[in-house]
């Protein structure tokens, strides 16, 4: 497919730039996080070069996601949805069990997580449904949209993968909020949700309950789940204003910090680069998110806007939950920080979705042709 040279001009370059900077910061941080001091010197686990490789693949996927006109996705939304549902079912029967959870499909050359696909599917289907009309959602439409989200989210939660399942529902929830709901729906939700939330307690696994309790008082379990929070706070806090310097973080180098290359990667960053570093990182993330708001605002057509909003929430929730957890503001949930945490398929999906919003942004002036 030939590509219009002007399309390249309309690409949201700041978004692309900040995504790459974030990714490179992540790789740099991973180098430090995967290194550890041994009796004689330093040794580095192979996480960071793997991450670079995934990043390159992601970059390639991103370009693919920019090439085709995103509006074709509108027609592909439902087939994509059903395919995803099918794959999620397939996981139940043919999935690979790792760490006690069936989340992977063995494709021969790689392990594939249909829950990642579900995240993409939900925002495309959501965009398709929500962009159809403009007025706020009433009960029936809300139920329809939520129903679609709950099918995907529920199947993922059953794997069990509470983190991904909830983020699927939350992506859709964010998009619903963007569209808006009627006053009656809003009032009902304001009353109903706080009432229903305690009920969900009974559906949680024992370890999930414990995490929430531990979050409320980390000292009750200083060597278990509370250990993560305590060590993470110590790591970040001990960074001070300027940080301890690259590769100088003692918490992480001496492996006090658990999950330091995945969920707690930003704690390593905070320890080594200090308040100055974390503020820059936070600003970069906010800038990254803001660029997506701009894309949503300027998109040509509501479908594009909703796609951008979906991607916005995809990143927003992860940033909020992961950083909140690392800073001790939220319970420990296994959700990575985009670009900073190690993770192959997550990196791939991140770049794909950046590609998707870039796709929206570069085609915003097409009607002027």
């Amino acid at each position: 497919m030939p590509i219009d040279r002007r399309l390249l001009f309309y690409i949201n370059w700041p978004l692309l730039g900040v995504a790459i900077i974030l990714f490179l910061l992540g790789v740099l941080n991973l180098y430090s996080a995967s290194g550890f001091r041994t009796e004689d010197a330093m040794s580095v686990a192979p996480y960071f070069n793997k991450q670079l490789l995934w990043g390159l693949m992601g970059f390639f996927c991103m370009i693919i996601f920019m090439f085709f006109d995103y509006r074709h996705l509108k027609t592909m939304a439902w087939p994509l949805f059903w395919t995803t549902v099918l794959l999620l079912f397939a996981v139940f029967f043919a999935g690979k069990t790792i760490y006690g959870a069936k989340r992977w499909l063995d494709l021969g050359f790689m392990n594939f997580q249909p829950s990642e696909l579900a995240k993409i599917a939900v925002l495309i289907v959501g965009a398709r449904i929500l962009s159809k009309e403009r007025e706020p959602l009433d009960f029936i439409r809300l139920a329809y949209v939520l129903g679609v989200g709950l099918i995907l989210g529920g199947l993922v939660i059953k794997q069990p993968d509470l983190g991904s399942g909830l983020s699927i529902i939350m992506i859709l929830g964010g998009m619903i909020l963007f569209r808006g709901v009627t006053a009656r729906v809003f009032k009902t939700c304001i009353v109903a949700i706080p009432c229903l939330l305690p009920l969900s307690w009974f559906f949680l696994h024992e370890y999930q309950k414990r995490r929430i309790l531990t979050f409320l008082d980390p000292t009750t379990d200083p060597l278990g789940a509370g250990y993560h929070i305590i060590q993470s706070e110590i790591a970040i806090g001990s960074g001070g204003f300027w940080g301890k310097g690259f590769l100088e973080g003692t918490q992480s180098q001496l492996r006090f910090l658990p999950e330091r290359h995945t969920d707690f990667a930003v704690a390593v960053f905070g320890e080594e680069w200090g308040f100055a570093g974390t503020m820059i990182l936070l600003s970069l993330f906010c800038f990254f998110l803001y660029q997506m708001v701009i894309i949503a605002r300027d998109a040509r057509g509501l479908f594009g806007s909703y796609l951008a909003v979906g991607v916005f929430f995809y990143f927003f929730w992860q940033i909020l939950i992961n950083t909140g957890m690392v800073l001790g503001l939220m319970p420990v949930v296994g959700i990575p920080l985009p670009f900073i945490s190690y993770g192959g398929s997550a990196t791939l999906v991140n770049f794909c979705l950046v590609g998707l919003v870039l796709n929206v942004s570069m085609r915003r002036f097409l009607f002027k042709q």
Binding site: R134, G237, S238, T250, L282, A299, R300
Partner: protein, 639 residues
């Protein structure tokens, strides 16, 4: 394619866009504040926590000072002991780990858990809680091979005190054991599991011998593995101690005391240094330093001969005739005695209705001071006592160190007892009787002395009147505590009488004669119980052990500038000459001739048999009278 663009004029909802921007703002503000709080406001707190997390400090044990005898032979050394410690912060599952330890060592899990619970509050974070203080080599090998799979378990090498001659010197060296709470409070440098001296020299010279622990700092990773160890403070070894004790002499004395209960003190009359300080029965210091078992402790505690008692400084005995030299000294000091004046001994004298007998039924006839001392005439001293009375006798005896601590550097010394009128009134509520004077004059009655006090007095007689502080360390300066208040001429009379007691054919210490050596001595027999008529008729070796008299001998010996005073007490040894004499003779032969006399096996067997006799008395007997009876015993003094 056209339907793809049919919504081109639709704008995204404004409220939605505002919502998104608000969310970004909220996240930015929330996280900025939190980061500011963690990294700036609380930054230093967390920095300190991070340091504590990663840097651990452990003590480097300092070797305790060695103890040698006067010739450099090692008496107390340090050997490595392997302890199993648990760092609870590194241990993921305490119960599981304790179960494993229980399996390795054969101990009960519940015991280990109880130990853990007892100590865990006292152990600082990241420090070892000692589970097993002393691993055997097979346990050590087993645990060391598997330790890596059990994070939190660490093997600690600590010096453990080892006594080369645990039985020979237990009462001098004492022992070390784990510091208790009170000791740790007094000495802040002590930690749980540290050894401190509990008895003897180990206790008295604790500060000199302990040294100072060093400090090592190392980084640890999350599994508690040590990386980059660095010594912050080098340990300082404890000072080495050289005792004045001669190991060979001590060994000899202990050999001669074997199967007996008693004590030997050998003092250098010029320096006050003790060459031997033996007490029997003894115990093994090593049993205490490696942790005494309940049974071992019970055996020591319930032993009727009280092995823990240091008989040379902690047991008090009536001095018997040995005390006659002090009475003679008092008489000379107060000029109430003319050495040439004679007294007639008819074998007994009367005081009121009571009869006081001399040990020699027929009497000694005409007796002057020297003869009275050499032949140990009781009647002479009865008269002396009547003349001097308790006031002078007691005053003089206290002036020459009786009834007072010798200040030897050992804990729990006893002062003995030098009675006065006031003391008796207070103690018994009755006044001093005339008969009390007579009994006191021959060393019976209320007077109680330690063998060390006796040795010190006779050293003073030998060295020209200086009462020396008994010393246990080779490099200690001689301390003159007092002077015997006698002119050299008067002192010479006493010393001469001592020598005559050996040299004269009627002397009671004839068995001490040693060719070429100037030796003097005095025997003594201290009554334990008033002998009933039935007992009196018994032959010596038929008297039950516990009713037999204590045997005393004090001696002086001098040759080529070497001067020694020796005091020997053998509990229930019957007669000074035969009970204590051979021991003194063996000591003199060792000191001056370098000869080691071994106690004949027959004698040991006899002593053993004697002790067993006490278990089955021949006839039912009157209960044992106390050592210092309320009513003065009828005086009889053998020898």
């Amino acid at each position: 394619m056209s339907d793809l663009y049919n919504q081109s004029d639709q704008q995204p909802p404004r409220a939605g866009l505002i919502l998104l921007q608000t969310l970004i703002m909220v996240v930015f503000c929330l996280f900025s504040v939190r980061l500011w709080y963690l990294q700036i406001h609380q930054g230093e707190v967390y920095a300190r926590k991070a340091k504590e997390n990663q840097l651990r400090q452990v003590a480097i044990f300092s070797p305790r000072g060695l103890i040698r005898d006067r010739n450099g032979d090692l008496l107390a050394v340090n050997e490595p002991a392997y302890a199993l410690g648990l760092v609870r912060e590194d241990c993921p599952d305490i119960d599981k780990t304790l179960h494993q330890v229980a399996m390795w060592t054969g101990l009960e899990f519940t015991d280990l858990k109880a130990l853990y619970n007892k100590h865990r509050r006292r152990v600082k974070p990241f420090e070892q809680l000692i589970l097993i203080p002393d691993l055997s080599f097979s346990q050590l090998a087993l645990i060391d091979a598997n330790k890596l799979r059990w994070p939190g378990l660490e093997i600690q090498v600590r010096p453990r005190r080892q006594y080369r001659h645990g039985m020979l010197l237990a009462h001098i060296l004492g022992y070390v054991a784990d510091a208790n709470e009170k000791e740790m409070e007094q000495r802040p440098e002590l930690d749980l599991g540290d050894y401190v001296g509990k008895q003897g020299i180990e206790y008295m010279l604790e500060d000199r011998m302990r040294g100072a622990k060093g400090l090592s700092q190392f980084e640890v990773d999350v599994n508690g593995r040590r990386l980059q160890e660095r010594v912050l403070k080098h340990p300082r070894a404890g000072h080495e101690i050289s005792l004045s004790i001669d190991l060979g002499l001590q060994k000899l004395a202990m050999d001669w005391l074997s199967e007996e209960a008693g004590g030997v003190a050998v003092m250098d009359a010029d320096t006050g240094q003790l060459w031997a300080l033996a007490t029997a029965p003894s115990y093994d210091s090593n049993d205490f330093s490696s942790g005494l078992s309940e049974e071992q402790w019970a055996a020591l505690r319930d032993n009727p001969l009280h092995p823990m008692q240091n008989r040379v400084i902690q047991s008090v005995y009536p001095p018997g005739s040995v005390f006659k030299h002090i009475i003679a000294g008092a008489g000379l000091h107060y000029d109430m005695l003319d050495p040439k004046e004679t007294v007639h001994c008819a074998g007994q004298i009367k005081l009121g209705r009571r009869v006081f007998r001399c040990w020699r039924k027929g009497g000694h006839g005409k007796v002057d001071l020297e003869k009275a001392l050499v032949q140990s005439c009781d009647v002479y001293f009865y008269k002396m006592g009547k003349k001097l009375t308790v006031d002078r006798m007691s005053e003089f005896a206290q002036a020459v160190g009786f009834g007072k601590l010798t200040e030897i550097r050992l804990p729990h010394e006893k002062a003995g007892l030098m009675p006065t009128r006031a003391w008796k009134r207070k103690r018994f509520g009755e006044g001093w009787q005339g008969g009390d004077n007579l009994n006191m004059a021959i060393g019976q009655g209320f007077t109680l002395v330690t063998p060390l006090q006796v040795a010190r007095f006779f050293a003073g007689v030998l060295n020209g009147g200086k009462l020396l502080k008994p010393l246990l360390l080779k490099d200690e300066k001689t301390v003159v505590q007092a002077e015997i208040p006698l002119t050299p001429e008067k002192l010479a009379l006493l010393k001469n009488a001592l020598i005559q007691t050996v040299d004269n054919d009627r002397g009671t210490c004839r068995r001490l004669r040693t060719k070429g050596i100037s030796v003097g001595g005095k025997t003594g027999t201290a009554q334990v119980v008033r002998l009933t008529d039935e007992l009196k008729e018994l032959k010596d070796d038929q008297i039950p052990y516990k009713f037999r008299d204590h045997a005393w001998m004090a001696a002086i010996a001098e040759h080529e500038g070497k001067r020694f005073a020796i005091a020997v007490l053998v509990e229930h040894g019957l007669h000074g000459s035969s009970g204590a004499g051979p021991i003194v003779k063996a000591v003199i032969d060792y000191l001056f001739l370098g000869k080691v006399r071994v106690k004949p096996e027959a004698k040991k067997a006899k002593a053993r048999a004697a002790r067993l006799l006490s278990l089955k008395p021949l006839k039912p007997l009157k209960p044992v009278k106390p050592v210092n009876p309320v009513n003065p015993v009828e005086a009889t003094d053998a020898n």
